[in-house]
Amino acid sequence: MLKELRTNGSTTTLGKPPKICLLCMSFMEKDDLKSAGIVDHVLTKPVRLSGLITCFQEAIGYQNKKRVTQPSTLGSLLTGKHILVVDDNNVNRRVAEGALKKYGAIVTCVDSGKAALTHLNPPHNFDACFMDLQMPEMDGFEATRQIRNLENKYNEKVDSGALLPGMSARVAHWHTPILAMTADVIQATNEECMKCGMDDYVSKPFEKGQLYSTVARFFGSG
């Protein structure tokens, strides 16, 4: 059926033949079909967001030379962004840091809610924070609550004219995106998570597709 479509030379209104993207189950079929020129791209099932994005990018001729070391999509969102990682477990910290740095982020790691407060007290340079939920002394919920408190106080000062935003701040209204990192999704979607001021959550360890779609909400796409 695909062969027929190709040879009939069907075209879109732009006069170009439409790209055909095939869904298949195995890697073996993929190469045969592509090299025979019957389809333009192949997606293997299960379809992942990141795979879909790559497929469309290739289809519209987007060239990314750095693909070997750095995925273009998360890379374009995170490169140069200052990210704070808060986790009391040093293996988790190191792994989260490694993943974010791979996409070009500038990462600072701290091991407690208290330390997070110090770093996220406005004004500061962080574009976002990934916060572990379960930590001793001050957990992620409490740390976030207190950070929002600090931000509100600062914003009030700016609004009342007591502080000029230009003098010591990059923005007039502070709200640093805080994303919960959690192995337990149920805990994160719980109302308390959103009530204390968190913006969203990501699973721990990071899953690329989910990380992309969550981060894209705050940093736009590319």
Partner: protein, 152 residues
């Protein structure tokens, strides 16, 4: 070059078995992907941190379970840490053992906890041994001038 090819095959066979036998899961593969020229020792660093952390946790767990009155909150906190770090590194069997351990903590079941600690220790030392062998093979390949094969 023959030596390199031989070592690379050894590496591939060994690591494939680790995935097949579920000592490691996809997360370990993700860690290997994060290693590059700007971060050449990443996997070794993370694995070393994991070893250090795990041995402290095992000691803490043993001490906590030996108390006259066991503080299950404390035990749960240690198990949570262990589950987290084993999950981050892709040590699937250790992670699964921790999950069973958590359940016994919640039920405040001392015997169950003691048994689980044994199970977690057992799985940990198995995977530690495997990972040490893997790191050794990697070093040998690099020393012989070869590249670590890409599993993906």
């Amino acid at each position: 070059m023959e030596i390199v090819a031989k070592l690379q095959k050894q590496f591939m066979d060994f690591i494939s078995a680790l995935y097949r036998e579920r000592f490691l899961d996809d997360q370990f593969l993700q860690l290997q992907k994060l290693q590059d020229e700007s971060n050449p020792d990443f996997v070794f660093e993370v694995v070393s941190l994991f070893f250090e952390d795990s041995e402290k946790l095992i000691n803490n767990l043993a001490a906590a379970l030996q108390q006259q009155v066991v503080d299950f909150k404390q035990v749960d906190s240690h198990v949570h840490q262990f589950k987290g770090s084993s999950s981050s590194i892709g040590a699937q069997r250790v992670k699964n053992a921790c999950m069973a351990f958590k359940t016994f903590c919640e039920e405040k079941n001392i015997e169950g906890c003691v048994q689980c600690l044994q199970q977690v220790k057992h799985e940990y030392f198995l995977v530690k041994n495997k990972l040490e062998t893997l790191m050794r093979l990697e070093k040998q390949i690099l020393a012989a001038g070869g590249r670590i094969p890409d599993l993906s």
